[in-house]
């Protein structure tokens, strides 16, 4: 039997300008995929293995390397795109589900980019954050419906209401859950240093808490997912908060699977599973088959940690997200994380990544409205994640009702990631999505930590400027403040969901 499909055109072409090249060999050293080799007095390339990660381009001292995309494309066709055709070739060969890396790759309209922000002119003055205080501190967790106070005999006022533990963030930007295993220890360390410096938090993912991260545990949110990997009482007590992961925006409704070959000695230790064994996270938590069961797990985690820690629940943004979030708000959870369909991942079935779930903008607006309508918005904070790319996305999603955001891909890009989407290969030349020690060593946690902290700092400054321009001096006044948004070329139905007026209105 001889296959009739043949080889497909390479995705990229790598060329080396021989006039510029000085044969230093840095491209050969840096490419983890083997696209370069020295052959006498020239560098030869193998374009077929290139992933366009740009490691070679970044480290060539002479700018001698060029990577072009789709040098030989298929006949163009709006329906039978390259992606569609190649998925068919793949499945005709293998008969399997196609897995891919990074987030949603379909060209859906970006709601964020159809929303514009407001600024003060004449009738109310804008605020200059340089000369006036700008309050960005954000408290995540339950807020009491009312406060009971008592005046003591000496005139002092005593608070009788028992307050729930909250997380206090200096800026409403956190880093979401990316596990040790999916990413390297150095990548996690860099981000841990950054969030500690910035006064914010990051998630551990479902990979346990590696020992070198323990000095930063006060800024870590520990995750409990359906595989319960690395979860014991010690782990729960170390975290600043605990997050139950029900779903993920990149692949709503399905579980996760770390293949045995990635479970090396160190990862085996933090996940608490034997070396080389598959780490399978089932699609549901098998102790949660109802909203009552979820409430039981939330309370169980609180009881085990003596009600000292906020417990978050993360769900993927799906059609009935508002009703689901309303259920979560009644489960004793302190925050609900809404992960939109643009959320990134190391690996997800292509059909899930591209077609399942809804955008975070619509989901957050719907959840915020539902919780307010039911009078329980104070019961949970809303954390938005999945496709937050820059500070304006942060401002817009907070104006749509979020309390804070998780970033993921953006933090990795700050570490050098070029969004090549080959995370699942385990050969990340930037030392991020890999466990190969020589590649991991390329990422300096100190320098990486500064870069990620710089990103958070830069966004925070932009946040203050954007708020000041809109005449707002406190993040609390921005939250759910849809009047600071206008929609540009969004249809009426979506405007109704977002509760945002049109430009000009």
């Amino acid at each position: 039997m001889s296959p009739s499909i043949g080889s497909l055109p390479p995705k990229y072409r790598v060329t080396v300008d021989r006039d510029q090249c000085m044969l230093c060999g840095r491209c050969v050293e840096n490419c983890a995929y083997g696209a370069f080799r020295i052959d006498g007095d020239r560098i030869r390339t193998n374009s077929r293995v290139c992933t366009a990660c740009h490691r070679c381009v970044a480290y060539c001292p002479r700018d001698a390397i060029d990577v072009s995309e789709r040098p030989l494309d298929y006949r163009s066709h709006p329906v039978w795109t390259r992606g569609v055709r190649e998925a068919i070739y793949n499945q005709a060969r293998t008969g399997k589900i196609v897995l891919s890396g990074m987030g949603n790759a379909l060209d859906y309209p970006m709601i964020f980019d159809r929303l514009v922000l407001d600024a003060c002119q004449v009738t109310n003055p804008s605020i200059d954050p340089l000369r006036e205080p700008m309050e960005l501190r954000t408290h995540l967790g339950k807020k009491p419906q009312r406060l009971d106070l008592r005046k003591k005999d000496d005139g002092e006022v005593e608070l009788l209401t028992e307050l729930s533990p909250n997380l206090s963030l200096e800026t409403p930007i956190m880093i979401g859950h990316m596990s040790y295993g999916a990413i390297s220890l150095n990548a996690q360390l860099a981000m841990a240093k950054a969030v500690s410096a910035a006064g914010t938090f990051m998630g551990t993912g479902e990979g346990g808490l590696p020992e070198p991260l323990r000095p930063y545990q006060g800024h870590m949110i520990v995750q409990v997912a359906s595989g319960r990997f690395g979860v014991d009482i010690d782990y729960l007590e170390r975290g600043a908060a605990i997050e139950i992961k029900i779903g993920q925006g990149a692949k709503p409704g399905i579980g996760g699977h770390l293949p045995g070959e990635k479970v090396n000695a160190a990862i085996s230790k933090t996940r608490m599973i034997p070396e080389g064994s598959d780490a399978i996270s089932p699609a549901p938590h098998h102790d949660i088959y109802s909203i009552e069961d979820l409430a039981q797990l939330v309370r169980s985690l609180k009881e085990a940690t003596e009600w000292k820690k906020p417990v978050f629940v993360k769900i993927a943004a799906v059609h009935n997200v508002a009703a689901i979030a309303a259920g979560i708000a009644r489960s004793s959870a302190d925050a609900v994380v809404i992960d939109g369909f643009r959320g990134g991942t190391g690996a997800a079935p292509r059909v899930f990544r591209d077609h399942v779930g809804i955008p975070v903008e619509a989901a957050v607006a719907a959840v915020d409205a539902k919780l307010r309508n039911q009078g329980i918005r104070n019961e949970v904070s809303i954390i938005a994640s999945g496709g937050i790319r820059e500070s304006t996305d942060v401002v817009k999603i907070i104006a749509l009702g979020a309390d804070a955001v998780y970033i993921g891909t953006a933090a990795l890009v700050a570490l050098g990631c070029r969004v090549c989407g080959n995370c699942y290969r385990g050969l990340c030349p930037w030392g991020i999505a890999t466990q190969r020690q020589d590649l991991v060593d390329r990422l300096d946690p100190e320098a990486g930590g500064v870069q990620v902290a710089n990103l958070i700092h830069g966004w925070t400054l932009e946040l203050m400027d954007l708020m000041g321009a809109a005449g707002i001096n406190s993040i609390e006044s921005l939250r759910g403040n849809r009047d600071r948004l206008r929609s540009y070329m969004i249809d009426q139905a979506l405007m109704d969901v977002l509760d945002v007026k049109s430009v000009g209105a």
Binding site: E86, K96, I273, P274, D278, I280, P282, D287, S300, A304
Partner: protein
């Protein structure tokens, strides 16, 4: 103090657990809880060397995240006793609900009667930790699904089959399920296969049978017939290896 007795009648689980924690911190080695009626989370996340006798019916997630204590229940247990347990022992003189020993990594659970659905689901093992779940009578569907380690043993003391429902060991990729009285192959889940016990397996199972008999004061001799037992193990350590292809 020799033994602390707590009357749990009408008590909420949080103050109950507070008392247990305080006693353990003070070095109490034996605690007896009387009139327990549906209190969830008893001994959740409790560490250390303490034996807790529970008289009545504890609620869900008994001993969840527990690391060390020994719980003996004189009554039935509810949903998920031993959930994500790390170390310790739970002995139930009665039946237990769904998801018994869910995701447990270490420790031992002995249930005298039957258990509900999804028993031993996603049990795992790590280094010296090998969790054990022994069921005196029978289990409902989906026993030992996604198992990644440890031992589930069902003794079928009620005289019927150990399990007669579907989904036994679906997705199992580590550990073993040992059944007395065999299994109708139609109930085997995807990725599970039936094999006979080796001498080593039998030695391990025999010691669990004797331990079970000791806990419940029964004579182990009628249970010690090796030919009555069968063993369910993973057909492959990679149940999903053939499902996916990379882009």
């Amino acid at each position: 103090m020799d033994e602390l007795v707590i009357d749990a009648a009408g008590m909420h689980y949080t103050p109950l657990n507070k008392q247990i924690r305080a006693a353990v911190a003070a070095g109490v080695k034996r605690i007896r809880l009387d009139n327990v009626l549906g209190q969830r989370f008893i001994a959740n996340g409790v560490r250390g060397d303490v034996a807790i006798e529970i008289h009545g019916v504890p609620g869900g997630d008994l001993g969840m995240f527990m690391s060390g204590p020994r719980l003996e229940v004189y009554g039935n247990a509810e949903h998920a006793p031993g959930n994500t347990m790390d170390e310790g022992e739970i002995v139930v003189h009665g039946s237990a609900g769904d998801a018994v020993g869910h995701s447990m990594r270490g420790g031992r659970i002995f249930v005298q009667g039957p258990i509900g659905y999804r028993g031993g689901i996603h049990m795992k093992q790590y280094e010296e930790k090998r969790p054990v779940l022994v069921i005196g009578e029978y289990a409902r569907a989906f026993l030992g699904e996604y198992m990644a380690g440890g031992t589930v043993l069902v003794l079928a003391l009620h005289g019927g089959p150990a399990i007669a429902e579907r989904g036994l060991g679906s997705g199992i990729h580590g550990g073993e399920i040992v059944l007395r009285g065999g299994i109708d192959p139609q109930y085997l889940g995807v990725g599970a296969k039936e094999i006979p016990l080796s001498d080593d397996d039998w030695a391990r199972v025999l010691s669990l049978i004797r331990e079970f008999a000791r806990h419940f004061g029964i004579d182990p001799a009628p249970l010690e017939k090796r030919e009555e037992y069968t063993r369910i193990v993973p057909a492959s350590a990679r149940p999903f290896a053939n499902k996916y292809a990379w882009e």
